[in-house]
Symmetry: C2
Subunit: 152 residues, 2 copies
């Protein structure tokens, strides 16, 4: 069911050196596990779970706990963005330089295929919601769910 690259990615793949450079700049070590993880993320434009990342790595190349720690670090540095498809598992996607990674997905409820979506919630409406309720710094989390062509 699950197709391999129906995903249209808007941002181009970052160089590994760009990524490690950013880590190094923040006074973090470029270790084997980290390079391997970044390498996986670079080649997967979809959001990946920690377990999926772990499965992509060679046997014994990196402990699962290390992946959790790496994702936490990369998240803090704004290099990956965490997505939540409502199934209680965190997923991560690499964020382009200067980008904040804000975007949404359309997920097949049958086969879990993921399509990246360009559309976003209208800014004016979000602004109005914020104002009406006196909230500041309002953002949103938005994902679409449906049945993909192959699963209908």
């Amino acid at each position: 069911m699950k197709k391999d690259c129906a995903h249209k990615h808007t941002h181009q793949r970052q160089e590994l050196s760009t990524l490690t450079g950013r880590l190094r700049r923040e006074s973090h070590k470029i270790t084997g596990p980290r390079a391997a993880i970044l390498e996986i993320l670079r080649h997967h434009p979809h959001p990946l779970t920690n377990k999926e990342i772990h499965a992509e790595l060679r046997e014994g190349e990196c402990d699962l706990a290390t992946i959790y720690r790496a994702m936490q670090l990369l998240g803090k540095l704004g290099m990956v963005k965490r997505f939540d498809f409502g199934d209680g598992v965190a997923r991560f996607e690499l964020v382009g330089e200067g980008d904040d990674g804000h975007h949404h997905h359309l997920i097949c409820t049958q086969c879990a295929e993921v399509v990246e979506i360009a559309e976003c919630f209208p800014t004016e409406v979000e602004q109005r919601i914020a104002n009406q309720n006196g909230f500041r710094s309002v953002t949103h989390r938005l994902e679409f769910f449906g049945v993909c062509p192959d699963c209908q």
Copy 2:
């Protein structure tokens, strides 16, 4: 920080008998625990976690596992809707009769205050997203996050 009833609820509180009736109609028993749970939900217009529901109940009135099972049943019957605030904990809200419970929230990232939001993602745009990708039965999950007046 957390205010008690800033939440504006659109739907009016359902009678307990209405709720139990629905359960009975589906050939399920009206047990002490279930009545107690429905009673809690009836009086709380916000999404509640299983643990919160458990805390509201009197000591020993109902096991936590029973609440998990009840929410699963009520969910299947469409009597409660599950919400996901991205913190890995499921929250549930009673759904009005005939309603599908689809709506969104604005959540304070500091104190977790929850405001129910009337706005929704534009149907035309959602339709277009579905068509463009050949998906059917598309819905969405949408929540807003920001800092509430009290926490600024």
